[in-house]
């Protein structure tokens, strides 16, 4: 069975997409209709396997997953996705929500856990939240990758200095620490601020935190 139901606005759009996996076509169709009625793009699948055939577009999205699926359970599939480094917010649906399953799902990073039949608003709220979360994480990821790109332009000495600056040391202390002239440290610092696009020292500190630059190493920890 091919459960894919492409929404008309899919092609080339940047709009968020809701993915649905449920082995029951009635539920799939109903959810598709609901999401489309509020203007969301939907793609529905009858099995996890079908979903994995898809090249996920780079847009904010979320996955609505029935916890009981043929062959592989929703929870196992969630773990599989994580292992495959696919980070998509998951909303679980279940016929009868039992607590251990809910706990496991939430611990594994599920956005929400809805019991069938659910209120449409609960589902839409959960989807909105999930898409928001995905959008944020996508934004964060974008910021971080920019920072990495900028950090990559720094020379090893500049990276060393940046690490020390962001731990709060004075130029003179840094100079003593690494055996340079204070003036040289000051020049490096100016280069760092410019290359990284930092407007102020606190800005740079925040960047260092995002990059995970510790005082011990001049390298990002990620």
């Amino acid at each position: 069975m091919t459960g894919r139901q492409a929404s008309p606005s899919l092609a080339g759009a940047e709009d968020p997409i809701v993915f649905v996996i449920d082995d029951d076509s009635s539920v799939r169709e109903a959810l598709s209709s609901l999401f489309r009625s509020v203007g969301l793009r939907v793609e529905a699948f009858g099995s996890a396997h079908e979903f994995l055939q898809l090249k996920l577009p780079n847009v904010p999205s979320c996955l609505i997953l029935d916890i009981r699926l043929p062959r592989v359970s929703g929870l196992d599939f969630q773990a599989e996705l994580a292992k495959a480094d696919i980070h998509i917010p998951v909303i679980f649906m279940t016929g009868h929500g039992d607590i251990p399953m809910t706990v496991r799902a939430m611990k594994a990073g599920a956005v929400d856990f809805l019991t069938k039949p659910f209120r449409d608003q609960d589902m839409l709220d959960a989807v909105t939240a999930a898409i928001e979360r995905d959008r944020n994480s996508r934004d964060e990821a974008k910021v971080l990758s920019n920072l990495h790109e900028l950090f990559a332009t720094l020379t090893p000495r500049e990276r060393q200095v940046m690490a020390l600056v962001t731990t709060g040391l004075m130029n003179k202390q840094i100079a003593a620490e690494i055996g340079l002239a204070e003036i040289t440290v000051k020049i490096h610092r100016g280069h760092i601020m410019r290359k990284m696009g930092a407007k102020s020292l606190p800005d740079l500190v925040r960047m260092a935190e995002l990059l995970g630059i510790g005082p011990a190493s001049g390298q990002p920890q990620t």
Binding site: D24, A30, L34, V38, F118
Partner: protein
């Protein structure tokens, strides 16, 4: 012997008399001639002539008398010899009769009015173990046991009151050794020449007959008792004269008063109106084909109660009695009732296990209802949103409504199916497609299969004929076999869990359903007990499932069996007969 000398002496006396008469006449004539020979006067002559004439007449008379005497003598002689012969004959006859009397295999007694034995024949005495002398002069009561003595006395008394009339009776006698014998006595009182009243008794030993009679009576009593106990009566049917001869028990079963015979119409009257036509058909056919027959039917008794009877008859040709059929009819009401109660109990048990099985499937069934329900709710919400749009999207709204109808119906069907299984409906056999039944069951266990990660293979032959069966009962059988398969595969971790359901027609063209799993299989030591009630290998099992499945399949005229697979797991098959034309 005594008279012969008398006759001889009498004859010599006669001769002597004649001689002396002749001598006297001669003497008279001589005297007369000597005294007066010359003057022959006429008167003298005349007297002489007269004398001579009388002499001659005497001589003639003597001759005549002699002849007559001889004749009489001869006659007397003949009579005497006839008498002797008669005496001889009588003697012989007496000896003969005595012989007959002594040794005739009939016991003769002659007793006086007080019952004292005056005479008894040797046979009679020997039969009683006595010698004749041991009985003579003794009271005849000696040969009667104490309990019969009164009867014996009164029998003699009756004879004495009716002299010359013969009376007969049967009575028991006792031998010298204490053993008893039955006799039939014919007796008569007569008055003897000496005016003494005696009773002559002839008795014949009827012990054998009596024993045979007793044996027969006993056997008849046993038979009647056996008939009563077994509630089985016998009958003979004379078709020609439309007469039916019944045993006592048959009369009791049919509730008629005992009569020598009964006609068929009367019997038919007692038969339940719904069964009458069938009974007439059966008996009519048996009669025309002259064949044994067997049938069961109901009787509607006058009090409105219903009896179930079963009759079997054998066609016979007994010209002497004119009987055409001999048979037995049993009152099987109690058995029928027990059967009905058993059936009821089985149905209840089947129902309980069905509900239990459904209980195990509760989660699966809930899921089957919940899925369409969730779809309905979601579709309804979507519908509202499509309508709330500006402008409302009626096409989409209509689409959701169609889905709502479809899903609502689907949920309803699941509930109906469950309700049918939960309901305790009576048997409702109807032609059905077994594949439909299997699909209905699958719809209930789908989720259970999913939960246990079992993949289901369906190989349902599309061109199967219909089977006549009770849908719910068959669903129960399939449900049970599927649940068993699922449970058998629970411990399986090292191979795919596969359950296969196949339908086909076997060599006998019967419908065959196969449920095959790859689970733990059957332990050989359990194979025989698999279908026994209360036999289970499961910790939580009641052990009724397979037992009930088998009784259901049996009731459908099919067969349920199990076998181990060549590989892992077990296979259960059951067959169902086809919906044959004219089958009830």
């Amino acid at each position: 012997m005594i008279r012969k000398p008398t006759i001889k002496s009498w004859r010599s006396a006669e001769q002597w008399l004649l001689g002396s008469m002749a001598l006297a006449l001669g003497t008279v004539a001589g005297i007369w001639l000597l005294l007066d020979p010359v003057p022959m006067a006429v008167p003298h002559f005349a007297a002489l002539v007269l004398l001579i004439a009388s002499l001659a007449a005497s001589l003639i008379m003597i001759g005549l008398a002699g002849r007559t005497r001889r004749q009489m003598e001869a006659m007397l002689q003949g009579r005497a010899s006839a008498e002797a012969r008669a005496i001889e004959t009588l003697r012989n006859s007496e000896a003969q009769w005595k012989e007959v009397f002594e040794h005739n295999p009939v016991m003769y007694f002659m007793v006086d009015a007080t019952g004292t034995v005056l005479s008894v024949n040797t046979f009679g005495a020997a039969q009683l173990g006595y010698s004749v002398s041991e009985l003579l002069g003794k009271s005849v009561l000696k040969v009667f046991p104490a309990e019969e003595q009164l009867a014996a006395k009164s029998n003699v008394g009756v004879c004495l009151e009716n002299i010359g009339q013969t009376h007969s009776w049967e009575i028991c006698k006792v031998r010298k050794d204490g053993s008893s014998l039955w006799v039939r006595e014919n007796a008569k009182a007569v008055r003897r020449l000496d005016n003494q009243l005696i009773v002559l008794i002839a008795c014949e030993d009827i012990t054998e007959r009596k024993e045979a009679e007793n044996a027969l009576r006993q056997s008849e009593m046993y038979l009647a008792e056996a008939q009563r106990l077994s509630r089985t009566g016998s009958f003979g049917w004379r078709a020609g004269s439309d007469e039916i001869i019944w045993s006592e028990e048959t009369f009791r079963i049919f509730g008629f008063d005992k009569a020598p015979s009964i006609n068929r119409a009367t019997v038919i009257q007692r038969i339940h109106p719904d069964d009458r036509a069938r009974v007439l058909r059966t008996t009519g056919r048996a009669l025309s084909e002259w064949k044994d027959f067997e049938h069961g039917y109901r009787l509607l008794m006058p009090d409105g109660s219903v009896k179930h009877v079963h009759a079997r008859a054998h066609a016979v040709k007994d010209t002497s009695s004119g009987i055409d059929f001999v048979g037995a009819v049993s009152d099987v009401t109690a058995r029928k009732r027990a059967e009905m109660e058993l059936h009821e109990a089985q149905a209840t048990l089947a129902h309980v296990t069905r509900v239990t099985a459904l209980g195990e499937l509760a989660a699966s069934i809930a899921h089957e209802v919940n899925q369409p329900l969730a779809a309905v709710v979601t579709n309804a919400a979507a519908c509202r949103r499509w309508l709330d749009r500006d402008p409302p999207d009626l096409k989409e709204a209509r689409g959701t409504l169609e889905s709502i109808i479809k899903d609502g119906t689907r949920a309803g069907e699941v509930i109906q199916r469950v309700r049918a299984l939960v309901n305790k409906a009576p048997d409702q056999k109807a032609p059905l497609n077994i594949n439909d039944v299997i699909n209905e069951v699958i719809s209930l266990v789908q989720h259970e299969l999913l939960n246990h990660r079992i993949s289901l293979q369906l190989e349902l032959s599309p061109a199967l004929p219909l089977a006549v069966a009770d849908r719910v009962q068959l669903q129960q059988v399939i449900l049970n076999l599927v649940i068993n398969g699922i449970e058998a595969m629970q411990p399986v971790m090292d191979r795919p869990r596969e359950l296969m359901i196949r339908t086909c027609q076997d060599e006998a063209r019967q419908i065959m359903v196969t449920v095959k799993d790859c689970g733990v299989g059957l332990a050989t030591e359990n194979a025989d007990r698999l279908f026994d009630a209360f036999f289970t290998t499961k910790s939580g099992g009641m052990g009724m499932g397979l037992s009930i499945c088998r009784s259901i399949v049996d009731a459908h005229g099919g067969r349920l069996s199990a076998s181990g697979n060549a590989g892992p797991g077990a296979t259960f098959h059951f067959t169902l007969p086809l919906d044959q034309e004219g089958a009830p």
